[in-house]
């Protein structure tokens, strides 16, 4: 089958979604399909540029492909007789993030754009299949657009992740941004009572947020306890840090999926600390059994961090339960691809 994968690109930024699409491409090729990956550049602007992008996505042509699989807004607006949407997320700023600190301010001009975005999403009903990566996304789609969808959980390339030693640090790998809330983890370090350490690693594109975190570390003399790596970390570093940590952290606000980081932690037999408002991650993590689901406050998170550090045996046991859980779920590429190409 000739398959086009259509995703968005925020130039020079690579996150979980990009990794997942690359893995899907690889898996499709292994199964003998001819696959091409197209990516539409996203503007850092909610306004005219976004409207232009929506229109452009409708005008691009994929006639020679038997199947087009799309993932994000507005890449999934492309028109094709056999378009399958595996939705990572909508343009959340126009939905549940609207008029919040992570979204867009409500004003008459933005209202117009919001309507354009919501109208573009109505075309989702014309898809051959409409999947989402988590209940969080499916529920949002139903709530805001009254469109039904089916959850098709994702999985990354997990082969290299496995259990290692139980270390003394918590590992928070992710693109560093306010919506991922690394600041909560760093602020929690001010309240911990144990000697637990924190490693935050990833690229921060917003210098103000980077400065906020650095300033907090400096102000509270946390340099000895917080390793802050604002840079792209290699796969090898990722495996090493993850397999030898005490536990992992993923505190993103209303994350659409359970997060690649959470899955990598589970495969590495590590418990995960998350928050009650972290969206898809709480579909994966069971509080006190495979991790901790905390209030989104530094104090609450600090308590969970201390608990893991002070009873490492229990932490290791939770990690094993996490690994058992992800294996029990039996999320396989064979199953995923069969459903995408049905």
């Amino acid at each position: 089958m000739r398959i086009a994968l259509v995703n968005m690109i925020s130039p020079f930024i690579r996150g979980g979604a990009e990794i997942l699409v690359d893995d899907l491409m690889h898996q499709l090729q292994l199964r003998g399909h001819t696959v091409e990956l197209y990516r539409l550049p996203s503007p850092n602007d909610f306004g005219l540029l976004m409207a232009r992008l929506i229109e452009a996505s409708k005008m691009l042509r994929f006639d020679h492909y038997d199947r087009v699989i799309c993932f994000k807004f507005p890449a999934y607006c492309v028109i094709h007789r056999n378009r399958v949407v595996w939705m990572f997320h909508q343009f959340r700023q126009a939905y549940e993030l609207w008029n919040t600190e992570f979204g867009i301010e409500a004003n008459p001009q933005n209202e117009i754009m919001r309507n354009i975005v919501m109208h573009a999403d109505t075309a989702l009903v014309d898809s051959r299949q409409l999947f989402t990566i988590a209940h969080e996304v499916t529920n949002r789609l139903k709530k805001f657009n009254n469109i039904d969808s089916t959850v098709l959980p994702h999985l990354g390339n997990m082969e290299k992740f496995g259990p290692g030693k139980t270390g003394s640090y918590l590992f928070f790998p992710s693109r560093i941004s306010s919506i991922k809330r690394q600041h909560l983890a760093v602020e929690a370090m001010h309240y911990v009572k144990s000697d637990v350490k924190l490693v935050v690693a990833g690229v921060c594109e917003v210098s103000a947020y980077d400065l906020q975190i650095r300033s907090f570390i400096k102000k509270h003399h946390l340099e000895e306890h917080v390793q802050y790596e604002n840079r792209w970390i290699s796969d090898e570093e990722m495996y090493q840090w993850m397999s030898n940590c005490l536990g992992s952290m993923y505190l993103a606000y209303k994350e659409d999926s359970c997060g690649l980081v959470s899955m990598e932690a589970f495969y590495s037999a590590k418990p995960v600390i998350t928050c009650i408002d972290s969206g898809g991650t709480i579909e994966l993590i069971e509080d006190q059994k495979t991790g901790f689901i905390c209030e989104p406050t530094p104090q609450s998170i600090a308590k969970a961090m201390d608990q893991l550090y002070m009873d490492k045996q229990a932490a290791a046991k939770m990690g094993q339960a996490a690994r058992d859980e992800i294996i029990r779920r039996d999320i396989t590429w064979d199953n995923t691809i069969r459903r995408l190409l049905a």
Binding site: E36, L37, A56
Partner: protein, 336 residues
């Protein structure tokens, strides 16, 4: 420096564009620049061309990078104040071959209306190319063709690396041709010539990718001319192993705006190549090498030339590095 590379991929025929995008990305990354690469689709449909070019115009990258490098038609329609465009060809079906059997020619060929569309298309191309700081083209043929759009292009040279390949299944001593089976490749003409040949040279037609309809037509044609024993079709690209074992290479592409990689490699390896006198960039090779046989585009002449190809000609090793030696210097010049 932040460098973004954008490639346009047409169905079935984009190997060299992809290879160049990857080579450019690799080069700048090795020079510690921040680079990223993305592809956009391009459907070579005459009536849909304007809309697709407009889609490229509407996409926004100008806030995202310091330099935009576009590869292929119509990636140059993307907007950026520091844009460099690389082209292997300029969709001859809409330009030099428009209205001929080899280019766009609608069944109901609505001359007046289509002429207006061509004019508008050329105007759009002119605007988009005019924005580029520099336009680089793969041949002097394309350089000349672009002059009609008032575009002063510079030459660049790039040959995609050929895969080494498994031990070849192609019969030793075969004459090799690689094609996406576009009408311009004139594979029909090759088959007619093959039918006339007295010596029974085997011919291997290599198809990296193609429209299934064209492929079916090819198989039917081979059967009709009863050439099944002499003409073999392989659905893959030419490899270095194939070239090591062949007796010659051939391309009958009409008014070609680039030299296919397998022809460049064949010549570098000292293999004899047959090219048509109306072959554009291919034709410009004639006279540059004693291994080139320039032929008229008619079956008798082609058959005669193919028979002259010596079996197992002397070969020497080719390296992609030597073929692309000028590219790094050119790319360095763009970031200064």
């Amino acid at each position: 420096m932040k460098i973004l590379i954008a490639g346009a991929l047409a169905p079935y025929s984009n190997r060299q564009e992809k290879a160049l995008c990857e080579a450019v990305e690799q080069h700048y990354r090795s020079q510690q620049h921040t680079t990223d690469l993305f592809y956009l689709p391009w459907e070579p449909d005459f009536y849909g061309a304007h809309e697709q070019i407009l889609a490229y115009r509407l996409l926004t990258v100008y806030n995202e990078c310091d330099i935009l490098i576009t590869v292929g038609y119509p990636a140059f329609a993307l907007q950026h104040p520091r844009k460099y465009a690389f082209l292997f060809d300029f969709f001859p079906a809409f330009h030099t071959q428009y209205g001929t059997d080899y280019g766009f020619k609608d069944q109901f060929f609505r001359v007046d209306q289509d002429q207006k569309m061509v004019k508008n298309l050329h105007q759009a191309e002119k605007v988009c190319l005019g924005e580029a700081r520099k336009v680089f083209v793969a041949s002097s043929t394309l350089q000349e063709n672009l002059q009609s759009l008032a575009c002063q292009a510079e030459r660049f040279s790039f040959t995609p690396t050929l895969a080494k390949g498994e031990p070849s299944q192609v019969e030793k001593g075969s004459i090799l041709v690689e094609s996406y089976l576009e009408p311009l490749d004139r594979i029909d003409l090759l088959l007619q010539a093959a039918a006339l040949m007295k010596d029974k040279h085997p011919i291997a037609i290599m198809i990296p990718a193609s429209d299934p309809q064209y492929q079916n037509a090819l198989y039917e044609r081979i059967a009709r001319l009863q050439l099944q024993k002499r003409v073999s079709v392989y659905e893959r690209a030419v490899t270095l192993t194939d070239l090591q074992d062949c007796s010659g290479a051939l391309s009958l592409r009409r008014f070609s705006e680039y030299v296919p990689a397998y022809v460049s490699y064949a010549l570098a390896m000292g293999i004899h190549c047959v090219v048509p006198k109306d072959g554009g960039a291919l034709c410009s090779l004639d006279g540059q090498s004693e291994n080139i046989f320039g032929v008229s585009a008619e079956e008798q002449s082609i058959a005669k030339s193919l028979q002259r190809l010596p079996l197992y000609s002397t070969k020497r090793k080719a390296s992609a590095d030597s073929l692309n030696a000028d590219l790094p210097k050119l790319l360095e010049g763009l970031v200064k």
